[in-house]
C-alpha cells in the first residue's frame, strides 16, 4: 500500500513524500516502515499518528487497515 508522509517524517525516508509499505494493521505498517527506514524509529518513539481513511489513530497498533485505504502518517499532536 502507499503511505503518505507528512511534515518532517518525510525526511526520515530520504525526503520521499510517499512510500510503498505493507501491513494489515497499524502496528505491522509501522514495523515495516522502520525496517525500510531505520531513522523512522526516532519519530515513532516521539509518537506519531496514523490517519486511515481520514480517521486519526494515535495509540492503536491493532487497528486494521483496509485494502486500498488512504493512509497518512502524521506527527503527533499536542493539545491545551
Amino acid at each position: 500500500m502507499e503511505v503518505q508522509l507528512a511534515g518532517i517524517l518525510s525526511q526520515a525516508a530520504g525526503g520521499a513524500r510517499c512510500v510503498e509499505c505493507t501491513g494489515a494493521t497499524i502496528g505491522e505498517l509501522l514495523q515495516s516502515l522502520v525496517l525500510r527506514y531505520p531513522e523512522m524509529q526516532m519519530h515513532l518513539d516521539e509518537g506519531v499518528a496514523v490517519a486511515v481513511n481520514g480517521e486519526i489513530y494515535r495509540d492503536r497498533r491493532d487497528q486494521p487497515i483496509p485494502i486500498n485505504a488512504d493512509v497518512f502518517l502524521l506527527p503527533r499532536i499536542q493539545g491545551g
Binding site: 503518505q4 511534515g7 481520514g54 495509540d59 493539545g79
Partner: protein, 753 residues
C-alpha cells in the same frame, strides 16, 4: 445547503440536560482543595532562585551561606539533578528547564532552590545564594533569531526536516511542510492574488491559580505528590524518569485545578519540589508567585506569518501558501508544525502548501495553550481570506461557504475528512440575527473560522455500584471545567438511573491505570467513552445477577430504564428488578457489582467554529470596544450544554484578550517587563459583553453518543474575527496582534501618509 448527517440522532433522557455540578457546593463554600490548599505535618516551604539574565553562563554558584542559615533544610542547584534521561533529548529539555545546567537560557530560568522552615527563611536563603554569571548575547524576537549572525541558543541544534541534513547549528529547530497539488500552477490560474505578512505577540494561558504542589519523597524512593495538574499520570511518569524513581512508588494526586488551558500539561517545579523533599527528608510545599508564573511557565509562541491566496473571479480559491515562523522559547518545539497543519484546514483546496519553522529564542519554554498554534495561523489566513473576498466584491461569509471543506475534502494537512461542521457553522452565521444588526459610526463587523484536531488517548475508568444503588465513578482525566457533571450524566444515561445517584471522583495514580493528560479537548470525549463501556460492563453483571435471582438464562434478561426485565411470555410472572434491588442483594449473589474499561479513545472528531463580532474603535484613542460577540461551534453532541457554552465563552474571551491587549513585552536587555496582572492585562468583566453561543450538533460517528471535543476550538477564530472587525471599522488592514490602542493609532496614521 444540504449536509451529510448519516449518523442519526439518538434519544437521550439525561444527556443534554442542565443539571447542577456535583462539586458546586464545595466550590462556592471555599471547601474545594486546590494545589496550594493542602498541608502536611512538618512541611517546609520551597522557593526557587531565577536568572535575571536572558542568556548567561553560570560560572559559579555559592550556596554555602544559604546552607548555614538556621532553618534552611535543603539547597539545590543543577548539580543535584544527575542526568538519568538515557539520551532522551525531550526529557533532557524538561530537566534543564526545571533547573539550569551551567547556562541560564531566559529571564526567569531556575538556577537554584531552597527548602526552609518558613517563607521568610526561604526568601532570606535565596538572597544568600551567590551566582556568578557571564552574560551572553541574547535574542528574543522570532524573526531576529533566524537572521544570520543571531546568537545561537543551542550549538547542538541542526534544522530537522531539510534535505540534505545541515551540518551547522541554527536557531531553526525544525522545518515542516504540509500540502498537496501544485501551488504555482494554482496561482497561475488565479484572477486575484493577495499576499500579506502578519505578527502575533506572545501570550500566557493566564490561569488564576499559580502552579502549586506538596511533595513528599523519602530516602527509600517512595513518595507522594499533591499537585495542580492537567495530567497526574503524565506528571508521575516524567517525575519518576527525571529523578530515577519507580513509577509505582510515586503516588500523584491531582488537586482541584484552578485553570490550565494547556499550561498545566507540563512539569515545572514539581521535580524540584520532590528533590528538595528527598534531600531534606520532609514534605515540601512549593507555590509559584504570579511573577514566576509569567516568567517561567506557560506561554504560547509569538509568531510571524506570510500568507498568499489566489482565487478566480467566480470566488473559487485556486492556490494558497503560508510560511509560519513560531518561536518555541529556549527549547525546540513543534509549534510551527501545528500552525502549518491547521492553517488551511477549514478550506477545500486543490493546491496548498504550508511550511512551518520552529525557532529558538531566549524566552521561556513554550507550552500548549488551548488549540496550540492554531489561533495565530488562523489570524493570518482569515485576514487574507477577508481581503480576498473584498477584492472580489464578494460577501466574506459567502466566499468562505463557497470554499469550505466538507466530507470527502482532502485536508490541507493530509487525510480526508469524515462528516464535519465547517459548512453548517458558516450557514448558521449567515442566518444569525447578529449579522443583521445595524453598524454605527466607527463600528465594524468581522467573521472568522477556526479548526482544531481534538484527540482522545489512553483512558481508564472504574464504576462501582454500592449496596444502596448509588454509583461511584472513578476517572483519571482531570475535571478542568465541569466534566464530572457530564460524566455522571453519561453513567446515569447508560444505567437508566438518576443523575444524583452517581458520584464522580478523579482517581489518583494508584487507583487507576494510566490516563493520558487532559488536553486536546479529550476530558469528556474519552472518559465519556470509557464511562459508557464501563457502565455497559456493569449492566452485563446486573443482568447476570437478575438472571440468577430469577433462575432463567441471562439471554432472557434485558436492561431497560434502570431495571432488569425478563423477556418472553414464560417470564410474565417475573416483576422487573431495579438497579437498587439488585444492588441490595449483591453481597449474597456474587459480591460487589462493578464495571471497568480501559480504552485508547481514538476518533475524537475534528472540530470547527465560526465567530462573528462587532467592534467600535475610538479614532482618538485607538481603544476598541467589543459590542457584540457570537460563537457558533459544532459540539457533536453537547452532554451538558451549560459547560459547552462555558467552553465557547471562555475560549472567546481569551481570544479577545489576545487580540486586543495581552502580550509579553521584552526589554532590550531580554527581560520580561510585564510579569504581573497589572501590566499583562487579561479581559475583566467590564471589558466584555455577554457572549452569545450557538451549539451545533453534527454527531461524531466515532463516539457512541456522537460527542466531539469542545474545549479548544473556541480560541482559534477570535484574533481573526476581531482583526477583520477592527480593519473594517478603521478602514485599514490590521496585521499585528494584539491590536492595542497605540498599534491601531499607528496603523491609522501610517495609512494616512
Amino acid at each position: 445547503m444540504p449536509y451529510e448527517t448519516d449518523y442519526t440522532n439518538q434519544g437521550f433522557t439525561k444527556v443534554g440536560t442542565r443539571v447542577n455540578r456535583p462539586d458546586g457546593v464545595d466550590k462556592v463554600t471555599g471547601r474545594a482543595k486546590y494545589g496550594a490548599d493542602a498541608n502536611a505535618a512538618g512541611q517546609l516551604v520551597g522557593r526557587v532562585l531565577r536568572s535575571p539574565h536572558a542568556h548567561a553562563l553560570i560560572t559559579k554558584i555559592d550556596t554555602s551561606k544559604a546552607e548555614k542559615l538556621p532553618g534552611v533544610k535543603a539547597v539545590l542547584t543543577g548539580k543535584d539533578f544527575p542526568d538519568l534521561t538515557g539520551g532522551n533529548r525531550g526529557l533532557m529539555d524538561i530537566l534543564e528547564n526545571c533547573m539550569a545546567r551551567g547556562r541560564a537560557l531566559y529571564d526567569g530560568h531556575a538556577v537554584a532552590a531552597v527548602a526552609a522552615i518558613d517563607a521568610d527563611t526561604a526568601n532570606k536563603a535565596l538572597k544568600l545564594i551567590k551566582v556568578t554569571y557571564k552574560q551572553l548575547p541574547h535574542v528574543t524576537d522570532v524573526d531576529e533569531a533566524i537572521k544570520p549572525g543571531a546568537p545561537i541558543i543551542h550549538d547542538w541544534v541542526r534544522t530537522a526536516g531539510v534535505t540534505p541534513a545541515p551540518t551547522t547549528a541554527s536557531n531553526v529547530a525544525q522545518r515542516s511542510e504540509f500540502g498537496h497539488g501544485d501551488v504555482d500552477a494554482g496561482f497561475a490560474q488565479a484572477d486575484v492574488i493577495i499576499e500579506k505578512s502578519f505578527k502575533t505577540e506572545q501570550t500566557h494561558q493566564g490561569y488564576i491559580e499559580p502552579h502549586a504542589c506538596l511533595a513528599t519523597l523519602g530516602p527509600d524512593g517512595s513518595g507522594e505528590l499533591w499537585v495542580t495538574t492537567q495530567g497526574h499520570f503524565t506528571f508521575r511518569n516524567v517525575c519518576a524518569s527525571l529523578l530515577g524513581l519507580e513509577v509505582a512508588k510515586l503516588k500523584v494526586t491531582s488537586s482541584e485545578i484552578g485553570g490550565g488551558f494547556g499550561g498545566k500539561t507540563h512539569v515545572w517545579t514539581e521535580p524540584v519540589a520532590l528533590q528538595l523533599s528527598r534531600k531534606a527528608n520532609r514534605p515540601v510545599k512549593l507555590v509559584m508567585s504570579r511573577d514566576e508564573v509569567f516568567r517561567a511557565t506557560g506561554p504560547t509562541s509569538s509568531t510571524s506569518v506570510d500568507v498568499k491566496i489566489g482565487a478566480k473571479r467566480n470566488g473559487k480559491i485556486t492556490a494558497a501558501t503560508a510560511e509560519l515562523r513560531y518561536q518555541s522559547g529556549a527549547f525546540p518545539g513543534m509549534w510551527a508544525m501545528f500552525g502549518a497543519m491547521t492553517s488551511f484546514a477549514c478550506y477545500d483546496l486543490k493546491n496548498v502548501k504550508s511550511v512551518g519553522f520552529d525557532v529558538l529564542v531566549n524566552r521561556p519554554k513554550v507550552a500548549a495553550y488551548r488549540a496550540p498554534s492554531a489561533p495565530m495561523a488562523a489570524f493570518a489566513v482569515e485576514s487574507v481570506v477577508d481581503m480576498l473576498a473584498a477584492e472580489l466584491g464578494m460577501d466574506a461569509v459567502d466566499f468562505r461557504i463557497k470554499n469550505a471543506a466538507k466530507k470527502g475534502t482532502k485536508a490541507s494537512y493530509g487525510p480526508v475528512y469524515g462528516p464535519i461542521g465547517i459548512g453548517p457553522t458558516l450557514d448558521a452565521v449567515k442566518n444569525h440575527p447578529h449579522m443583521k444588526r445595524k453598524l454605527g459610526k466607527n463600528q465594524g463587523r468581522g467573521v472568522a473560522c477556526g479548526f482544531w484536531f481534538n484527540f482522545g488517548g489512553q483512558t481508564c475508568t472504574d464504576l462501582n455500584i454500592g449496596v444502596d444503588g448509588s454509583v461511584n465513578l472513578t476517572v483519571g482525566t482531570v475535571d478542568v471545567g465541569g466534566s464530572r457533571a457530564s460524566l455522571a450524566l453519561i453513567a446515569a444515561e447508560e444505567l437508566g438511573i438518576d443523575y444524583e445517584q452517581v458520584r464522580v471522583t478523579i482517581g489518583d495514580t494508584n487507583s487507576l491505570g494510566h490516563n493520558d493528560t487532559t488536553e486536546g479537548s479529550r476530558g469528556t470525549f474519552s472518559s465519556g467513552m470509557a464511562t459508557i463501556f464501563a457502565a455497559r460492563n456493569a449492566v452485563d453483571v446486573l443482568k447476570q445477577r437478575a438472571a440468577a435471582t430469577w433462575d432463567i438464562p441471562v439471554e432472557q434478561v434485558i436492561w431497560e430504564a434502570g431495571e432488569a426485565r425478563a423477556k418472553g411470555r414464560q417470564n410474565n410472572n417475573l416483576p422487573p428488578l431495579s438497579l437498587k434491588e439488585i444492588a441490595a442483594k449483591s453481597p449474597r449473589t456474587g459480591g460487589p457489582i462493578a464495571g471497568h474499561n480501559e480504552v485508547v479513545a481514538d476518533g475524537a472528531g475534528v472540530s470547527f467554529a465560526s465567530h462573528m463580532c462587532d467592534v467600535e474603535v475610538d479614532p482618538e484613542t485607538g481603544a476598541t470596544k467589543i459590542l457584540r460577540y457570537t460563537v457558533v461551534q459544532d459540539a457533536g453532541k453537547a452532554i451538558h450544554p451549560d459547560y459547552v457554552e462555558g467552553q465557547f465563552q471562555g475560549g472567546a474571551a481569551q481570544g479577545i484578550g489576545w487580540a486586543l491587549n495581552e502580550e509579553y513585552i521584552y526589554g532590550d536587555d531580554g527581560r520580561l517587563q510585564n510579569a504581573g496582572f497589572l501590566d499583562y492585562r487579561i479581559p475583566v468583566c467590564s471589558d466584555l459583553p455577554f457572549i452569545d453561543t450557538q451549539i451545533l450538533e453534527i454527531p461524531n460517528p466515532n463516539h457512541p453518543y456522537g460527542v466531539r471535543g469542545v474545549g479548544e476550538t473556541s480560541i482559534v477564530p477570535p484574533l481573526a474575527a476581531i482583526g477583520n472587525a477592527v480593519s473594517n471599522a478603521v478602514g485599514v488592514r490590521m496585521t499585528h496582534v494584539p491590536m492595542s490602542p497605540p498599534r491601531i493609532l499607528n496603523a491609522i496614521e501610517t495609512a494616512k501618509e
